[in-house]
């Protein structure tokens, strides 16, 4: 093996230090092309993965003239072409290591995607280590910038490829840098820009993925022509970075993260440390193209302008006027205001003037993401198929509209899409971006890849003799076990499907599962974490088939005292698979005395004892309003909607699962104190409980929140003559809680492991490995603790395990949000055809309205008492009693009060004629494969007629239109139709 050695000297910034590194140049690096005979002869440099790339590359030989494209990561624009590269139409790509290094330094997220692409066996992407190849290594010349040197390296490598592979393979350099392209052509290399290359492929869909180049391209001029009136400078230029840093240093500018008001996209706050207060920014022109989450530099406006908040909004609005803004000072997230100032116009003006007002002069760090939403409805332009410009409306109100170009407008209209932002220059009102894909909540809905499916056991799966012979696996087939919904039970025995027997660490299947983290449950649909054959067959503990399981075996006294706990892998044969309903029916039917039913009853009595004991310890019984839909099998429209009923059987199963989880948590923590994956539930802080306490005290209820036990007791005592009152208080309490999270035991101290809701010092997830990846990890830990299996290397790496835990939390939260959004979407579809009057409870009082909760459907929404724009109006809020009153009348609303509301939906074009007390609520719908998404293009409105206690119809006051600018997002408007005390 020939080795030559050169020294590369690098100086590092900061403390200038000379670093000398060895740099080996070699002649045994394969070019990766199958047509090349010289490289193949050497012992192949790339292992299994690479061999596959070579095989695929055979196509290069077979289809002569198939191009090898070498993308260049020169500009950030080019980096974002990753969307294009991920498209299967682009293939046979050589990635130079110099390109990879640049990508890695500039954008780690993109680098990771590239990496995934290169290791994807289905794609013909090859990484060529040009920096270590004897013929392609380029030494930096005197006076040459690193960028120029890299460009030269890319050209040298391309030329080498061309001469190496000979004339019958066309090597094409794809670059967006004109200079580089020119030089390449001068040197006799085939070079093209991405756009022209993609155009040559003649696939119109691909062109949308090409990032629009902003450097005075033809296409951009078209845009301006279309909107000639807008061809003026709308925003002021951002200050150069040097000026910003200087300004920050001498205190003229203030740095902070920009947060846009959720209820009013024209108002933003910048939390500034240098002032110690939040700076308010009014209007888009003052926000100066900053997005929510950007780190910006802000200049304070002179103090006499601090009042002019409203004029700024008016200036800027134009086509956004139709927005209905909830008064910002009552918004949930109006920052740093524990008690939102409200009621009269005078007081709200005071509160504004006390806050500094500023404008954005520069953006220090962009927080540009991909955003989900849909296109603004527009007529199809003449000559469809050509380039059309459309405005994209994000689901998140805080994001401005984004202008995109597309060649497939017809496809995209009425669909939920994701758009990435590319640029926003001073001339255009809206940022420009490009269309990406169709995912939301970052949930992977793609089908499983072939590599993943290849990891599955051969089907149909049956019990193999090896499994039986395995001394670590106990044969429990003779035991009478039965399953109720997921797990399998017997007296003192809980079996969980042995998923880890099929999902081995390090396989593509495992990686995919760990990425997905959890299954996502949508209404009438499920996005699986593991492929169907596993979830529905091999790991499903069905009746009368032999299945592999992981068992927890307890020996218990009739008083539910645990004498011993044992864990083992096992083989089981369930004798019955029941649903919760069936199990409940069996238990309730006193005529049945078969062994199965007796077992069920015994288990139930044990579970009750365990439950009581747990509650005594201080576990909280919280409540949430889970709803159940009945879905029409053909149209997928919901037929009926109701609150999910919790049966004793559910509670029984839950009890045993909790017990298993807790004892498994203890076991794994004992064996692996530093690398166990546990779940904790942090105690809520005083501030979080504040709204609950305020509400409770307004109705004369005193809650003790000093500990979970005290809270549980006072919740139990929270009763009055209203039967729903207790549940309502519990629902409110649930909302004050923190989220339970997964964590790695080495990261925290023992006292922080506490699970507040369950009042357990340790908790983990063990019982649902099919749908949660956390459980898979815990299964592996437990197997290692029992010395059945070796501990996978992941657990030896603290930071990596923490990363896995963080990902699980992220996925878990997203899954929850998605299923909530799915429920909301279906609620909306349901109300489309069913306007109705129903009973609702007031859960929160605002200055210009209140929030109602509809127990029957588990939904909530705001009700406006004043027309839009009027913040506060003539209603007076009584903070102490949580009551809003209209002075001079006896009309008042108090928290927890029962009101009758009317709910109705109306289509977007149909402006409601008369509403005066109206509230809107926008739903975030979820990306489902609902191709008929346009059915959601609607709003729900309500007519109202307030009645006072005497059931007198109050006169309709002002009229205001409610107009939805949100496409594909429904709104449910509520109105009070009458209220009454119970």
């Amino acid at each position: 093996m020939l080795q030559s050695k050169t020294f590369v000297k690098k100086t590092r910034a900061g403390r200038v230090q000379k670093v000398v590194r060895e740099h080996y140049l070699r002649d045994d690096i394969s070019c990766g092309a199958a047509s090349c005979s010289t490289c193949g002869a050497v012992e192949h440099p790339l292992s299994a993965d690479a061999a596959a790339i070579l095989v695929v590359d055979t196509n290069v030989v077979l289809h002569q003239g198939v191009e090898l494209g070498i993308p260049e990561a020169d500009v950030l624009r080019a980096l974002l072409q990753i969307d294009l590269l991920e498209n299967p139409a682009i293939d046979d790509v050589v990635l130079l290591s110099v390109v990879l290094d640049e990508v890695k330094n500039k954008n780690l997220a993109v680098f990771n995607r590239i990496k995934a692409l290169c290791s994807n066996k289905a794609r013909r992407f090859f990484v060529f280590t040009n920096e270590h190849h004897r013929d392609t290594y380029v030494k930096e010349m005197v006076g040459e910038s690193p960028n120029d040197r890299n460009d030269r390296a890319i050209r040298v490598a391309t030329r080498w490829y061309q001469s190496h592979l000979g004339e019958n393979v066309k090597v094409l350099l794809i670059t967006n840098d004109r200079d580089n392209k020119r030089k390449a052509i001068e040197e006799g290399i085939n070079a093209e820009t991405v756009e022209s290359y993609v155009r040559s492929l003649a696939q119109p869909g691909l062109l949308d993925l090409v990032v629009v180049s902003t450097s005075g391209d033809v296409t951009m001029e078209d845009v301006e022509d279309l909107r000639p009136s807008k061809k003026k400078v709308i925003y002021s230029e951002h200050k150069p970075m040097s000026e910003i840093t200087a300004g920050l240093r001498c205190g003229i500018y203030h740095q902070g993260k920009l947060r846009v008001n959720r209820y009013n996209p024209f108002e933003a706050y910048v939390g500034s440390e240098s002032i110690g207060d939040e700076i308010v920014i009014h209007g888009r022109s003052n926000m100066n193209r900053a997005f929510d989450g950007d780190i910006v530099a802000v200049e304070l406006l002179p103090q006499d302008q601090w009042h002019e908040s409203k004029s700024f909004i008016a200036d800027d609005d134009e086509d956004d006027e139709e927005d209905v803004h909830l008064a910002p000072n009552t918004a949930d997230d109006a920052p740093r205001k524990a008690n939102p100032t409200q009621s009269t116009a005078a007081s709200s003006a005071d509160s504004v003037s006390s806050r500094p007002v500023g404008r954005v002069v520069g953006i220090i760090k962009r927080n540009w993401n991909s955003y989900c939403g849909s296109l603004e409805p527009m007529p199809m332009p003449a000559g469809s198929g050509g380039v059309a410009h459309a405005l994209f409306v994000s689901k998140d109100r805080r994001i401005p509209k984004i202008r995109i170009q597309t060649r497939q407008l017809g496809n995209l209209l009425d669909k939920r899409i994701i758009v990435a932002v590319d640029s926003w220059d001073v001339l255009s009102r809206y940022p420009s971006g490009h269309y990406v894909v169709l995912i939301e909540n970052d949930i992977n809905t793609r089908p499983f890849s072939t590599q993943v499916l290849a990891c599955l056991p051969p089907l149909p799966w049956t019990l193999s003799p090896e499994d039986l012979a395995n001394p670590d696996r106990q044969d429990l087939r003779h035991v009478r076990v039965f399953s109720v919904d997921p797990p399998v039970l017997d007296l003192g025995l809980l079996d969980i499907a042995d998923v880890t027997n099929f999902v081995h660490p390090g396989t593509p299947l495992d990686e995919e599962a760990s990425q997905r983290g959890t299954s996502v449950y949508l209404v009438g649909q499920r996005i699986d974490m593991l492929p169907k054959p596993l979830t529905e067959d091999v790991c499903s503990l069905r009746a009368d088939v032999e299945r592999l399981a992981f068992s927890v075996i307890w020996e218990m006294t009739p008083h539910a005292d645990i004498i011993s706990t044992r864990y083992t892998k096992s083989v089981i044969k369930s004798c019955a698979a029941m649903s919760y309903v069936e199990a409940q029916a069996r238990m309730d039917d006193s005529r049945l005395v078969d062994p199965l039913t007796v077992d069920l009853r015994n288990l139930n009595s044990l579970a009750k004892i365990m439950r009581n004991r747990r509650c005594e310890r201080g576990a909280l019984t919280l409540a949430s309003a889970e709803v159940k839909f009945e879905i029409d099998s053909e149209t997928h429209d919901p037929l009926d909607i109701g609150i999910y009923q919790i049966r004793e059987a559910n509670q029984m199963i839950e009890e045993f699962m909790l017990a298993a989880n807790i004892s498994v948590a203890e076991k794994i923590l004992k064996h692996f104190p530093l690398c166990s994956l546990l779940r904790r539930h942090p105690s809520p802080t005083k501030e979080m409980l504040e709204p609950l306490l305020r509400t409770a005290s307004s109705v004369g209820l005193n809650l003790d929140v000093s500990s979970s036990k005290a809270l549980a007791e006072s919740l139990d005592n929270a009763k009055n003559d209203d039967p729903y009152f207790n549940k309502l208080i519990r629902i409110l309490a649930t909302r004050c809680m923190t989220q339970a999270v997964y964590f790695c035991s080495g990261d925290l101290t023992f006292s922080e492991y506490y699970h507040y809701g369950l009042a357990a010092s340790l908790y983990t997830h063990f019982t649902s490995p099919i749908r949660r990846y956390a459980d898979v990890i815990v299964h592996r830990l437990l197997a290692a603790a029992l010395e059945i299996a070796k501990l996978p290397p992941l657990f030896q790496d603290g930071p990596q395990l923490t990363g896995v835990a963080d990902n699980l939390n992220y996925r878990h939260r997203n899954a929850q949000m998605a299923s909530r959004a799915s429920v909301e979407l279906h609620t909306l579809i349901y109300f489309r055809t069913r306007p109705m009057d129903t009973e609702a409870r007031i859960v929160k009082i605002k200055a210009n309205g209140f929030i109602v909760f509809v127990p029957k459907f588990g939904i909530e929404g705001p009700i406006y008492l004043t027309p839009k724009g009027d913040k506060g109006g003539d209603w007076v809020v009584d903070e102490v009693h949580q009551r809003v009153t209209k002075p001079g009348t006896n009309v008042s609303y108090a928290v927890l009060q029962t009101v009758m509301i009317h709910m109705e939906h109306f289509s977007q074009m149909d402006k409601p004629a008369e509403c005066d007390e109206i509230v809107e609520w926008n739903f975030c719908s979820v990306a489902q494969n609902i191709s008929d998404m346009n059915t959601v293009d609607q709003s729900v409105r309500a007519k109202e007629a307030i009645r006072n206690d005497d059931h007198h119809t109050a006169e309709t006051k002002e009229r205001m239109p409610l107009w939805s600018r949100w496409v594909n997002i429904g709104r449910l408007a509520y109105r009070c139709s009458w209220r009454g005390h119970r």
Binding site: R15, Q17, K18, L100, K115, C118, S119, H132, D797
Partner: protein, 234 residues
């Protein structure tokens, strides 16, 4: 942190996971010493000088009059690393490395042939770029051979990282001293935690490296002998 690029299979400097850095050895670099050598492993460059066997200078140090006394002094040159910090003599680290080198060399020197005498080994690191311990031992071996001091075998050393094998985090450094012909390990140092099965592979790899170094050192010595022979003939 990845040590081996999973896409290309190369380490940052262009080596494969199981490849050693470039070796270079030279004997007779210090004219005054009885034996001397310069040894390079990549950018790590070490000079070693051997004095002796000679009379014991400080009788108090002599433990056993039947065996030769081996002394070793390890030092890093002030200019050996990027930041020019003065390295105090006799600090914890250099004392430890001195001891390690002394013990390793003692194991291979036939001390019983040289009673009441002392052998001094001076090792100076000229450039440090990782693996100094191993380079010092190799340089000392070469210098001892140059001085004509009887040894059981050539002791060579090589350090292997866990990272040579898998891109797992942490960079445990395993230094192994090895008597090639006798197949005996005289030194084993590890500064991190490693799972048992990984350790086995790392160990095997380090031993492979030691054997390769031994071959190279033999070559250098042979070359040197030939040169001396030529000089004598003329």
């Amino acid at each position: 942190m990845e040590y081996v690029n999973p896409l290309t299979g190369f380490r940052v400097d262009g080596r494969r996971p199981n490849e050693m850095r470039q070796l270079k050895g030279e004997v007779g670099v210090v004219a005054r010493a009885d034996g001397s050598a310069l040894f390079e492993m990549g950018n790590t460059r070490v000079i070693a000088a051997v004095y002796g066997p000679r009379e014991v200078q400080n009788k108090g140090q002599q433990v056993n009059s039947k065996d030769a006394l081996v002394r070793c002094e390890y030092r890093m040159a002030d200019f050996s690393t990027g930041d020019r910090r003065r390295k105090p003599k006799g600090d914890r680290r250099s004392t430890e490395i001195s001891l390690v080198i002394r013990q390793t060399m003692e194991a291979s020197i036939l001390t019983h042939l040289m009673p009441r005498s002392q052998i001094d080994i001076f090792v100076q690191v000229l450039q440090a770029d990782g693996g100094t311990r191993a380079a010092c031992i190799n340089a000392a071996t070469l210098a001892l051979a140059d001085a004509g001091i009887p040894m059981r075998d050539i002791v060579t050393s090589c350090s292997a990282d866990l990272n040579y094998i898998e891109d797992s985090a942490g960079g445990p450094d395993v230094t192994v001293g090895f008597l090639t012909k006798m197949d005996k390990v005289t030194l084993l140092q590890m500064d991190a935690k490693l799972p048992m099965d990984t350790f086995e592979t790392v160990m095997d790899l380090a031993i492979e490296g030691c054997k390769a170094i031994a071959n190279y050192i033999r070559e250098v010595l042979l070359e040197n002998t030939k040169r001396l022979e030529c000089q004598r003939d003329h």
